[in-house]
Assembly symmetry: C2
Homo-oligomer: 169 residues x 2
C-alpha cells in the first residue's frame, strides 16, 4: 500500500468509526427540542417511589443545582438550571423473594428542566420523556408538555415538583 | 492582643474546629469492625425495590467494581472489592398523590462488602447496617452477620446478592 492509499484507507476508517459512534449515541430530542441530559446517571438521589396505579418503581435524581435547592428547602421557586430525572421500571416480583417488588423492563426516563423564561408556558419547567431501552422520544408534538404540566399543577406549592428529598444523613 | 496571645487563640480555635468536625463525621463501626464507606451516595444505581412485608422502599447502589461485575453478568462469584449499599426508607403515602408510596423516615443504610478471605465465614461477604438518621450500628456482636448471611443463602446462584441490575440504556 502506498502512502496515498494508506491515507485514504485511514480517512475511510475514521469516517466509519465516527458514523458508528454518532449512530450509537444519537437520541432524538423530545418534540419540544429538549435533548436528553448526558450525565443524569451520576446525579444525586432525590427520592424513590412506587406508583401502585401505574405499577411502576421510580428512582428520582437531581443535578447539583436542584439537589442544593432541595437540601435547603428552596423549592418554591426552584432555581433556573435545576434538572430532575425520573427513571421508571415496570413492576416485577423477585423470583426468590415474593414480597419484593423489583424492576421489570424499563418504562421510561423523564426529565424536568428549569428555565423560567424558556418554559414560561409550562410554569417554568421543560418536560421530556424517552420510552424504554430504545429511548424513543415521547409526544407527537410540543404540546405533549401540557399533559405533564397540568398534572404537576397539583404540586404547585412545592414548585410543581412532587418529589420531596428523601432523608439521608 | 499581642502576638503570643493571638497564636494561642488561633490554636484553641483550630482544636475546637477539629473536634467539632470529628464529632460530626464519626460513625461507630459495625460490631464486626466494618466502617461505613464514605462515598456510597455517589455509587451507581444497581436497583430499586419495594418490600411489602417490611413496608419499605429501597435504592440499591454499587461501587465501580460491583457495577462492572453486574454489567458483565460476572456475579457468581462477585470480585473482591465489590461493595453494595442498600438505602431503605419506611413507606409513606405522598400527601398529594395517594397512589404513590414514597419515603418516610430512613430505616437504615446497609452494606455488603466483598472480601473472600476476610469474610470467608459468611460466604465471602461482610455485612454491616446503620439504623436511621442517627446511624446507629446494628447488632450486639459480630455474630449479627450470620443473620444476614443465612437469609442471603437463598440468592446463592447470583453470588448471594438478591438485587439484579435494573435495565438502563
Amino acid at each position: 500500500m502506498n502512502k496515498k492509499t494508506a491515507m485514504i484507507v485511514t480517512l475511510i476508517c475514521g469516517l466509519l468509526i465516527a458514523t458508528t459512534v454518532t449512530a450509537e449515541t444519537k437520541i432524538s430530542p423530545a418534540p419540544n427540542g429538549i435533548e436528553m441530559p448526558k450525565d443524569y446517571k451520576s446525579w444525586q438521589i432525590l427520592g424513590v417511589s412506587h406508583r401502585t396505579d401505574k405499577n411502576s418503581l421510580r428512582i428520582i435524581l437531581a443535578n447539583s443545582v436542584a439537589y442544593k435547592a432541595a437540601s435547603e428547602g428552596k423549592t418554591n421557586v426552584w432555581p433556573d438550571g435545576s434538572m430532575i430525572a425520573k427513571l421508571a421500571w415496570k413492576d416485577s416480583t423477585h423470583p426468590k423473594f415474593s414480597s419484593a417488588t423489583v424492576p421489570g423492563e424499563l418504562a421510561h426516563v423523564e426529565f424536568m428542566i428549569r428555565d423560567s423564561k424558556k418554559f414560561a408556558d409550562t410554569n417554568g419547567w421543560g418536560y421530556a420523556r424517552w420510552l424504554g431501552l430504545e429511548q424513543k422520544a415521547y409526544g407527537n408534538d410540543a404540546n405533549f408538555a401540557q399533559e405533564c404540566s397540568s398534572c404537576h399543577e397539583q404540586a404547585k406549592e412545592t414548585g410543581y415538583v412532587f418529589t420531596r428529598l428523601a432523608p439521608l444523613p
